[in-house]
Symmetry: C2
Subunit: 411 residues, 2 copies
């Protein structure tokens, strides 16, 4: 039933020359101010006309077409762009979650548990698990996602994780610097040399990005700089896990290195906000991780007011955020981070695309990829107004439904 969308490096296979229309859209969010009202480019009683998997036009509803879906007056939004996930892993860490309920703090050292489970899993099983998570994400309205390695932590297994990741997306991230693995305890600099040397050599051809967890207990400022520099020389763009568990140098390192995104940003100083606002680095918030680790929530309001470009992402991983639900992320962002629903929707679509430097995603402007979600609701407000409810009626990637669809064909 599921259409397998084209997601290869540089892949741009068309869905076919036929025109596809999503008609009878009560409220269409384009995220293109040129196409409608306000920053979300809202159009009412609209039809989304798709050709070759791209947005061809936004018209008044009632368009004649070879192939038309009936949105039945519901709301259509751009698909979520989830710019921070760790979908390639085996095992779960529910026991750590339970321990946190009784006051145990989140400890990054738990990553080693998933490393052991992931190394012990076959290639096929690792791919099957990752694909299942991607299907869950599609069912929740995510049409594009970034996938990191980081549960291999040796040359062979980091490379294998990126092989799996590249089956799911062209936004693959090499995260050899997720944690110093147990076998390098007290030899962190040796491990950094490995990451920047043999591991990077093997992994760079499969990755678009390099990422480093810059935090007490993981990698420090100088190590993070070295890793981002080595990545850049290998042609990889930078990303940083920054300021998750306390104030730290991560955001500054990200900005100095010209990273596309600093992720987590739970603790942002005034200097961090200034640095981000004067840069092209997106602040990517991961409130589902703050939910599950019982951390405070980041001040999204302060970031927006300071002029920082923001994104929201799921951080799906077994240790700190075992969810792909962007609706849940949005509900938390408006309840806990001071964002408006408009800001939260923009951050989880256009913001995610910006954090991945993808100009043709995260919006439904003319020429953009026709990645869209039909909500079982009259407005995107319901993503937060109806928390916990599965409100995705259908997800379209390149104009084709990828979920068991709940939208009727018009003919």
């Amino acid at each position: 039933m599921s259409h397998e969308p084209a997601h290869h490096h540089g892949g741009d296979e068309a869905a076919g020359p036929t025109t596809i229309v999503v008609d009878n859209i009560g409220l269409l969010v384009t995220n293109d101010p040129a196409l409608g009202e306000g920053p979300l480019g809202l159009a009412r009683d609209a039809a989304l006309v798709i050709e070759d998997g791209r947005v061809h036009a936004i018209e008044r509803c009632g368009v004649a077409a070879d192939d038309a879906f009936d949105a039945a007056g519901r709301c259509v939004i751009p698909g979520f762009v989830d710019s921070h996930t760790h979908l390639v892993f085996a095992g779960d860490r529910a026991d750590e979650f339970v321990a946190r309920l009784t006051g145990q703090p989140y400890d990054p050292a738990g990553i080693a548990t998933t490393v052991a489970a992931t190394r012990a899993t076959t290639d096929d099983e690792l791919l099957r698990l990752a694909r299942r998570r991607q299907r869950e994400a599609w069912a929740g309205g995510t049409t594009h996602l970034e996938v990191k390695s980081g549960y291999g932590l040796d040359v062979t297994h980091e490379h294998r994780s990126l092989q799996v990741a590249s089956r799911l997306t062209d936004d693959t991230t090499f995260l050899g610097a997720h944690l110093v693995p147990p076998e390098y305890r007290d030899r962190a600099d040796d491990y950094v040399d490995l990451v920047c040397g043999a591991m990077l050599d093997r992994c760079a051809p499969l990755a678009r990005w390099i990422d480093v967890f810059c935090e007490r207990g993981a990698f420090d400022r100088d190590q993070a700089r070295a890793i981002l520099d080595a990545g850049r020389r290998a042609g990889l763009g930078g990303r940083v896990h920054a300021n998750q568990l306390g104030p730290g140098p991560g955001v500054q390192v990200a900005v100095e290195a010209g990273a596309a995104s600093a992720d987590h940003c739970t603790y942002l100083s005034a200097a961090d906000l200034d640095a981000l606002a004067g840069s092209d680095t997106v602040a990517t918030f991961l409130p589902a991780a703050d939910f599950s680790t019982r951390q405070p929530y980041p001040d999204g309001r302060a970031a927006v007011d300071a002029g920082v470009a923001i994104a929201l992402a799921s951080n799906c991983n077994p240790g700190s955020s075992n969810t792909t639900s962007m609706a849940f992320v949005i509900a938390l962002a408006v309840r806990e981070m001071g964002l408006t629903i408009d800001e939260a929707l923009l951050a989880s679509t256009l913001g995610g695309a910006r954090a991945l430097r993808r100009a043709d995603r995260g919006h439904l402007g003319i020429g953009a990829r026709a990645d869209a979600v039909v909500l079982d609701a009259p407005s995107f407000t319901h993503l937060a107004y109806r928390p916990g409810m599965p409100l995705v009626a259908a997800t379209l990637i390149d104009g084709q439904p990828v979920t068991p669809d709940d939208i009727g064909r018009l003919r």
Copy 2:
């Protein structure tokens, strides 16, 4: 595809004489300590044997049966018993939700908006909307729910709301005392007389319970007492909306009146905890309402530690909690209310049944109704560990699937 379960007053229609088995259950929660480990009565590698819609036996997996479902090693729990909903309404109040994001406090006066919309809706449409919400609740694992009136607020429309409610459940609640309607402004006592007189006369035959919103801006202590007394004389058990928006007399009124439940309990004093602990009144927490109204969360830990019997419910309604997701409620309860996952699961199953005085629901003990949920997870922990994810693979009521089921028949 959906089986319509028998939910009439005193209804007890059997599903048939055939034995049904849910087999290959990796982890079965019975909530009956006699049937397994701990307070949750956990059994592993089990089969749930059902006869005439009731639990007949818990056996080791691998049972031969005429009709068997394959849980495929997943976790099975008792269906959620959602003891506080307002499913009979028309319209939505997303605009109020948006206003709260910019600092507007929750105002019970907004109830009048829903009253106007509900009065203006046809009987058929009101039933259609309520049934759709019940189907959403089934898909989320709720197998039994209480439904209140309270958006009619005159004799005709309260009666009509209860007619609709009684099509959904036998736990119907007359909530004429939800708010003093605009036409009785400054004549609250006249409205209380109407509620206790002509309205109660008309509504009592359709209701099992009477409820009153005892809160500043709604009904005061004496009015609440008068309403609960009148209900008792008419044969209705008591329930109270208590201590939602601030400290108040609601909990004490509920306990004094012998109410089955005091609901909300966001603000509980030491005296309130004492009163509840020494009573048969259940404290029903509604954290999804606190989420959506941006109130503080109740201290569930303090209530449990004080020996108070607790329940968790959704409070599904358009003003303060537009969700039926009990998984979301459980995730909030463990993140924000200091409950363990075991306590939260018990509170949303057995606790809800206790709040409705239903001995044969909320557990899978021998003879109980075979209302059960197959989770797409190895453990109920995942309800909170995977927040926002739709984890219900199948919902069974009286032993029969009521959702498009994702569990295979064994033969």
